[in-house]
């Protein structure tokens, strides 16, 4: 995976892309979920993605709403990824260069062991396809869709030195 030069101005130093949810700023509008779903759809068209596509695309993050507290939750891409260590098939792996945790959808069998292992509850089930659905940090974009879409800058994007 490559980062665009816009995302990494100096180009040279490898960086780990991370997103942090800011509960003080989140209004619970759910636009991040909408844009995440569309980004992970085949048509990338909001109407078609929600109404026509089968299997229906899923958002890879969820917004928790509890009274007046809102929190967008997605995969943390943990340095010590318990999901990867628990994966029965080898579908989950952590890229040693980028630090990102990815799922090989051809290898996932939907056993859900990673769901029990994830301390953030950040892995979802795609029941139509029988595999997990999790944040992939939008490999085709310089800025993940949820970050770009948030009207209140409640999802912070940073690149940390490896």
């Amino acid at each position: 995976m490559t980062l665009s030069s816009a995302a990494r101005p100096n180009g040279a130093r490898p960086a780990i892309r991370r997103i942090y949810p800011l509960e003080d700023l989140c209004m619970g509008c759910g636009l991040c979920e909408v844009h995440c779903l569309v980004e992970h759809s085949r048509t990338r068209d909001v109407i078609k993605a929600y109404l026509r596509e089968r299997p229906a695309p899923l958002a890879r993050l969820r917004v928790e709403r509890q009274d007046h507290l809102f929190l967008p939750v997605q995969c943390r891409h943990c340095p010590e990824p318990l999901c990867v260590y628990s994966c029965l098939t080898g579908a989950l792996s952590r890229d040693p260069t980028t630090g990102e945790v990815h799922v090989d959808e051809t290898r996932c069998i939907g056993c859900w062991t990673c769901i029990l292992a994830c301390p953030y509850g950040a892995i979802g089930r795609d029941l139509q396809r029988g595999i997990i659905a999790k944040c992939d940090l939008c490999p085709d974009r310089s800025l993940p869709a949820c970050v770009a879409a948030c009207p209140n800058e409640a999802i912070l994007y940073v690149e940390e030195a490896v």
């Binding site: 509960e23 859900w112 769901i115 029990l116 292992a117 994830c118 892995i123 089930r125």
Partner: protein, 436 residues
């Protein structure tokens, strides 16, 4: 087999090419890019996903698709793999492993990740042809080769292995009867209510269930007494079958370790660094007794994730990065017969002081239960809606005092927003706090 006099020396020697062994070599390579590493197994394939043998037997996947790591894994990580040859003797003094074909490998650091073998009860008449176990690809191949269009099966044991085999057989259209000594399926992994959900799914799939019974005798066929034709239960009932599978659990493979003089209890005894009683020798996985953070003792928890994580800790220590194993416990996710059930830790706690059980049920489809011990999570069962179960398991693993928000743990809308704010500040946004 022809005798070979090949002698090899390696810095790291891993006996066992499954979850624990792979966990170890990946950890070793994270710390030591060059140290010579050798992994050996009596199985002839690259590491494969053992839990997938159910899908494999059902004809829904292939060996290629079951590989636990990409085909170039060994080459890319410069790991010498000696596969399909059994190790026969361990000489701790000479730091040498001997193989059945005469070759030897000497090591500087050794890991025993030898796994388990199916527990084999003594049953009269069991010398007949048509009796199987189900823990390896070769087992699945043998069962597949023995199946005929009119085959019927009896599976002894309604645990995880018995269930995975039954699921495969049902999908192949084979009539199955399960015989279980206890009063319900998966008694070691599930409480009564979740087990009842499994029982119902099994019955709906057409599986005949016999509880509180065991097989007293294996019977032959009228036309050929050397081949399995059925079983007689303790109560005298007879069940006809051509395929008899024994799935009552696995026993740690400790022979190499015990004969070499390592301390072995039920499994190979290891400390919190996964080190055995002998310097530079480590053990992990189904063969070892590693720390269980729920029971607070060393015990065998033969499940894949614990094998990988124990192997990882062993590998880090072998390569010189001192790391303590934080412990594992029994934990399982079950998807057989279309179910979604996860469980971990204590399922049916005693009524002793300090225990508290919280449950929330929504008809038959969803059920959540959390077992508390002194204000901390000691067990969980989620049926149906399982997606936040990992948060509860995380609190259990961390030993977090959940007294102030315990009711939320089983709430339908449970999530991170119900945890104390400090937890989220610490775990979710360390840098964001600075940036704000």
């Amino acid at each position: 087999m022809p005798r070979k006099t090949s002698r090899r020396h390696t810095r790291y020697l891993i006996v066992g090419n499954s979850a624990g062994g792979i966990g170890a070599v990946e950890a070793i390579r994270q710390v030591d890019a060059d140290g010579t590493t050798t992994i050996v197994s009596d199985e002839p394939y690259p590491a494969y996903s053992r839990p997938e043998i159910s899908e494999y037997l059902a004809g829904l996947t292939t060996v290629e698709r079951m590989l636990f790591r990409p085909p170039d894994f060994y080459e890319k990580n410069r790991i010498e793999a000696i596969l399909g040859v059994a190790a026969t003797r361990l000489d701790l003094r000479k730091r040498r492993l001997e193989f059945e074909d005469g070759r030897t490998v000497t090591w500087e650091k050794l890991l025993l990740a030898t796994g388990g073998r199916p527990t084999a009860p003594r049953i009269p008449g069991a010398a007949r042809e048509g009796i199987f176990t189900f823990t390896t690809l070769a087992d699945a191949d043998r069962i597949r080769a023995a199946l005929r269009p009119d085959s019927r099966a009896v599976v002894i044991g309604a645990g995880l292995i018995g269930l995975s085999l039954t699921h495969a057989l049902v999908r192949l259209g084979v009539p199955v009867a399960m015989v279980e000594l206890l009063d319900r399926p998966l008694a070691s992994a599930l409480d009564q209510q979740a087990a009842a959900v499994v029982e119902r799914a099994l019955r709906e799939a057409g599986v005949e269930l016999v509880f509180g019974q065991t097989v007293a005798q294996v019977l032959g066929r009228p036309e050929d007494d050397r081949r399995v034709g059925g079983v007689r239960l303790q109560d005298g009932r007879q069940l006809p079958c051509e395929i008899l599978a024994i799935a009552i659990g696995v026993t740690p493979r400790t022979e190499l370790a015990a004969e070499a003089g390592l301390r072995v209890s039920r499994g190979i005894v290891v400390d919190r660094h996964m080190a055995t009683t002998h310097a530079n020798v480590y053990a992990c996985g189904d063969a070892a007794e590693a720390f269980d953070f729920v029971h607070g003792v060393e015990r065998v928890t033969p499940i894949w994730p614990n094998a990988y994580m124990g192997g990882r800790v062993a590998g880090l220590n072998m390569a010189g990065r001192e790391t303590a194993y934080s412990g594992g416990t029994g934990m399982n996710a079950l998807t057989y017969f279309g179910l979604a059930i996860v469980s971990a830790g204590l399922q049916e706690p005693s009524d002793g002081p300090g225990f508290e059980v919280l449950t929330c049920s929504d008809g038959d489809s969803t059920y959540r239960k959390v077992v508390l011990r002194d204000g901390r999570v000691a067990g969980l069962t989620f049926v149906g809606d399982i997606e936040r179960s990992g948060i509860v398991f995380g609190l259990m693993r961390d030993g977090t005092d959940v007294s102030t928000f315990k009711e939320a743990l089983v709430a339908p809308d449970f999530g991170l927003t119900m945890l104390p704010e400090g937890w989220r500040r610490e775990r979710l946004a360390p840098l964001a706090t600075e940036a704000a």
